[in-house]
């Protein structure tokens, strides 16, 4: 499942679904809202483009690391401290591919998928600074 959504997901159910024939390892990445003296976090996405880019990242990771299953669920909207932001579930025959595939996916998301985070505080809010490629088209 590749999804940008407001609702949370059942990670346990995703793990069960990821155990395709031949699976020897499942790696779960769960990015959560950290308590950096914030009240909430607000997430925004360019949804159509972000979904297409997540799908491409999943395809590339599957091919490169021989993954058997990939889920990427990125949440948007207002999230409280401790809530899940991003869940990545991958399965592979062996742990090196599963770990490497999971790491590849999160780093690609951080680098290029059009999603933004704003930390809401008692005094207002601040956009989390993102990485940038100096205005270069890097697709």
């Amino acid at each position: 499942m590749i999804s940008i959504q407001t609702n949370d997901v059942d990670i346990g159910a995703l793990i069960i679904a990821a155990k395709k024939h031949g699976t020897g390892a499942v790696v779960v990445f769960d990015g959560v809202v950290r308590d950096d003296n914030i009240t909430e976090m607000e997430l925004e996405a360019y949804e159509d483009v972000a979904t297409q880019e997540l799908e491409k990242i999943a395809r590339d990771a599957t091919e490169q690391f021989r993954l058997l299953h990939v889920d990427i669920i990125h949440r948007i909207g207002r999230l409280a401290v401790g809530e899940n932001i991003l869940i990545i579930v991958v399965s592979a025959g062996h742990r090196p591919e599963a770990y490497a595939g999971s790491r590849y996916i999160i780093e690609k998301i951080k680098k290029g998928v059009p999603i933004w985070k704003k930390e809401l505080t008692k005094d207002g809010g601040r956009w989390v600074p993102g990485e940038h490629g100096h205005g270069k088209g890097h697709r």
Binding site: Y46, D48, V49, V113, P114, I115, W116, G135, G137, R139
Partner: protein, 92 residues
């Protein structure tokens, strides 16, 4: 012809989003965004530098494909295009 302009994150807060703009044939990406951004000085300076060029960190898209800043001034927009302008991404 009509073009849809989408700003995101801080740029959206300053300039709005899903702006439908009537433009004449031959309008270029940079000139269109310059015109729209000038409606709010703070929005303009968030996107453009003192020389009127895009800040190096600004990301541009036309119909979901990235446009290099260096090409934007000579990239025409067409009827039905969706133009997006946004700051560096910070997902994950």
């Amino acid at each position: 012809m009509t073009v849809k302009i989408r700003f995101f994150a801080r740029f959206r807060e300053l300039l709005g989003t899903d702006i439908m703009s009537d433009v004449v044939a031959g309008t270029m990406f940079t000139s269109l965004i310059t015109t729209i951004a000038k409606k709010n000085p703070e929005g303009y300076t968030a996107i453009f530098n003192e020389k009127g060029a895009f800040h190096e960190f600004v990301i541009l898209m036309k119909n979901g494909k990235r446009i290099d800043i260096a090409d934007a001034a000579k990239t025409p927009v067409a009827d039905g295009d969706e133009i997006a302008v946004f700051p560096p991404v910070a997902g994950g």
